[in-house]
Point group: C2
Chain length 435, copies 2
């Protein structure tokens, strides 16, 4: 007989894990809804022609291909599993462009699959949770996404800092220090500033082919001081000669200004070292980190100017962020921030001594459910010890015991499983206690 198992890098989610995941997802969804974002879903399978060439050479290798089934080879186009939500979203926007109202505010929460080598914290199947506005270049979209980050983490109780950068500022920096083609190298190197210090960053920059003069010119930027506004003011002077750099600074200022306009309390920090997604982001770049846990970014995103170009629809600007469900899960676990109610789906268990008692329990349970209570009836009149053990193991907070005395009085012995207190009450009284 085979021993049951699942493929490497995949997971089963138990009832407690699902309660916690659903808590995260429903918190996020409720906040999305307040801002008028609505959900779409796309199929798990996409045509290989949709997926190939979109994730670089390495990414192509990590695509899971589906063998054609029920069709002769060559008869049907090749299919593969979704690798992320961005490419299917771009395909969706182009395919359904005539039915979509722009600006299009959508979110999508679905699993993706990658044939990565499985390791701690890296899975072959995991959920992504993406929210995007496409079809507008208004920076109010960025502002709303930052407000969403604020509200989601406020509700989850996680203290975070949002790091904000702008691709145009990075381009401007490379331009003014005379190394426009080295933007990536500069960003990758200064990304290490905190870890390895300014001297080693400078050494690395020289190694990456920057001239000594360029490295010299970069120093004031590595030494920006003060709060976000101070830094932006200093940068404005430094980037005075770069049109794109100044455009980036203007964008950042509009965002900061609008965040104060709506009284946003989130900690937002201008972070020139933030170098996420430089291949496709064209404006704002976001990354969110939890303050009280050592953990990578738990949310990230940015502005892109050409999401749908690959599918023949140019000039669609958008901005989006992605919430990392697995990491948020780990942060909440580490900080012990899950609401206690998630421990048990059931509020009350009926435990009965006999068949007649069970009939009465079924009546009471039906009445209590009509009041909205989540109620189980242990379905067999087995030994009370076993029924109580079931309630214990499932962390059910109340048990209603029904024996012949209770049955005769049409009442139930309500036991608070935490305190051990017991009271003989009617079903209605029990409902009042539990609610």
């Amino acid at each position: 007989m085979q021993k049951p198992a699942i493929p490497k890098g995949t997971r089963d989610f138990s009832q407690l894990e699902m309660a916690r995941r659903n808590y995260i997802f429903s918190t996020i969804r409720e906040v999305f809804a307040l801002y008028g974002f609505a959900q779409i879903e796309t199929p798990a399978m996409e045509l290989m022609s949709t997926l190939m060439g979109k994730y670089g050479e390495e990414g192509d290798k990590l695509l899971f291909r589906i063998q054609n089934s029920g069709e002769k080879a060559g008869e049907a186009p090749e299919k593969g599993l979704r690798y992320d939500l961005t490419v299917p979203f771009a395909r969706y926007v182009v395919q359904h462009r005539d039915a979509i109202q722009f600006p299009f505010k959508r979110y999508q929460i679905q699993p993706v699959w990658r044939a990565d080598r499985p390791q701690k914290g890296r899975y072959r199947e995991f959920y992504q949770c993406d929210v995007d506005v496409v079809g507008t270049d208004s920076l109010l979209a960025e502002v709303e996404l930052i407000q969403i980050v604020e509200e989601v983490y406020r509700r989850l109780g996680i203290r975070v800092c949002l790091h904000l950068n702008n691709r145009k500022v990075l381009a401007g920096i490379a331009e003014v220090i005379g190394a426009p083609e080295k933007m990536m190298d500069i960003t990758v190197a200064i990304d290490k500033l905190d870890k390895i210090g300014v001297e080693q960053v400078n050494a690395e920059l020289l190694e990456r082919g920057l001239s000594a003069a360029a490295v010299e010119a970069l120093q004031p930027i590595l030494n920006l001081s003060g709060d976000n506004r101070d830094k932006l003011a200093q940068l404005r002077t430094i980037l005075a000669g770069s049109e794109i750099g100044l455009k980036g600074i203007n964008e950042l200022e509009v965002i900061f200004d609008n965040l104060s306009n709506v009284d946003c309390r989130l900690s937002v920090e201008l972070d020139l070292c933030l170098a996420r997604g430089l291949n496709y982001y064209t404006g704002a770049i976001f990354e969110v980190k939890a303050l009280d846990v050592q953990m990578g970014s738990i949310t990230g995103g940015g502005r892109y100017d050409n999401l749908t170009g690959i599918f023949g629809m140019p000039d669609v600007s958008g901005v989006g962020i992605s919430f990392g469900a697995d990491r948020i899960y780990d942060v909440l676990t580490e900080l012990d921030l899950y609401p206690a109610e998630l421990q048990s789906a059931t509020q009350l268990l009926f435990a009965c001594f006999g068949e007649d008692e069970l009939r009465f329990a079924m009546q009471c349970a039906t009445a209590l459910r009509a009041k909205g209570l989540r109620v189980e009836v242990y379905p067999e009149a087995v030994k009370m010890k076993r029924q109580m053990a079931y309630a214990d193991a499932k962390h059910i907070p109340y048990v209603a015991i029904i024996g012949s005395n209770e049955l005769a009085e049409k009442k139930l012995m309500l036991k608070n499983m935490l305190t051990g207190e017991q009271d003989l009450v009617s079903a209605n009284e029990a409902a009042a206690v539990i609610q």
Copy 2:
């Protein structure tokens, strides 16, 4: 440039379709929760060894196989996409038996994949929604599932009839008419009673190898009359000689009796022609049909005695039902039963004449969201006509127009998009109107 498309037999779900699907699923989930059922999830991919041989020869051919990726051929076990939720559930129960509390009440809502030839109403990717109790043979589990059916369809507003049969009764019938090995043939033939009439059924039975005497003996069963209790009483006489038949009748009587005990108002009909899942059901068999629409079964299930035997854990009895989301969707569409609110995720759109107005709108929107309202701000001060067209197309019921007058007064012009009425109000007053 490639024209964007998705694989045959798969679907994108738009925001309206998702709102409707989420309405169905959340209605079902809320009812499940009242009965103490909690959710689990299993991976989309299972090992081929888990899937193969579980769905018959035809089913095996309809499995989608995943090509191994990132591993050398032969290095990793073969994987395939989930074909249903039952086999993964059985695998889950055995794999996690030590962590599970029995009776185990779980539900699961996930997509499954079948390489069927796509056609109207048949997809290669579709959601299943299964709810099961395993680890008890108490018939109260059947009763609770029927109560769940009652409550789900009451909430959705769909009038239904639940057809109830019992595999043991079918075995008993075959036994008493002297053709115990012909149970399947008998059931398949009498399943057609309504369609082809008694004479043709009898002809088919003879064709299927029943003796004339057996067909003769079957006639009283084809002619049962009266309500469920009358029919059971007649059956009890007919099946007096069959132990298993009487056991089935007892089970049915316990279920009917307990349904009256909890005052179940669902129309439940004893239906000896119901022949669903005879390969695995061992007791109750359920099927639910909508009364006001021509449509196949929208929910079905039954009792099985050996879910987990294939994975080496014998004697685990369970009972479950499956809600057919796609068909429920179609029934609600045909009967036009979706709540009107599903048309729009957004309750209020701010439409502004200029940048200063937009700043004020962002403040108002933030304040209204804090009150729980779902609010959008059109992010650009484009022509009012375009902003109103956006609200119209998205069926947003209220628009708050802000021009220079409104801005000066710190008020907004609230327009009811249905009636066309407009009022100059404060943000607080707008909230009161909309809520």
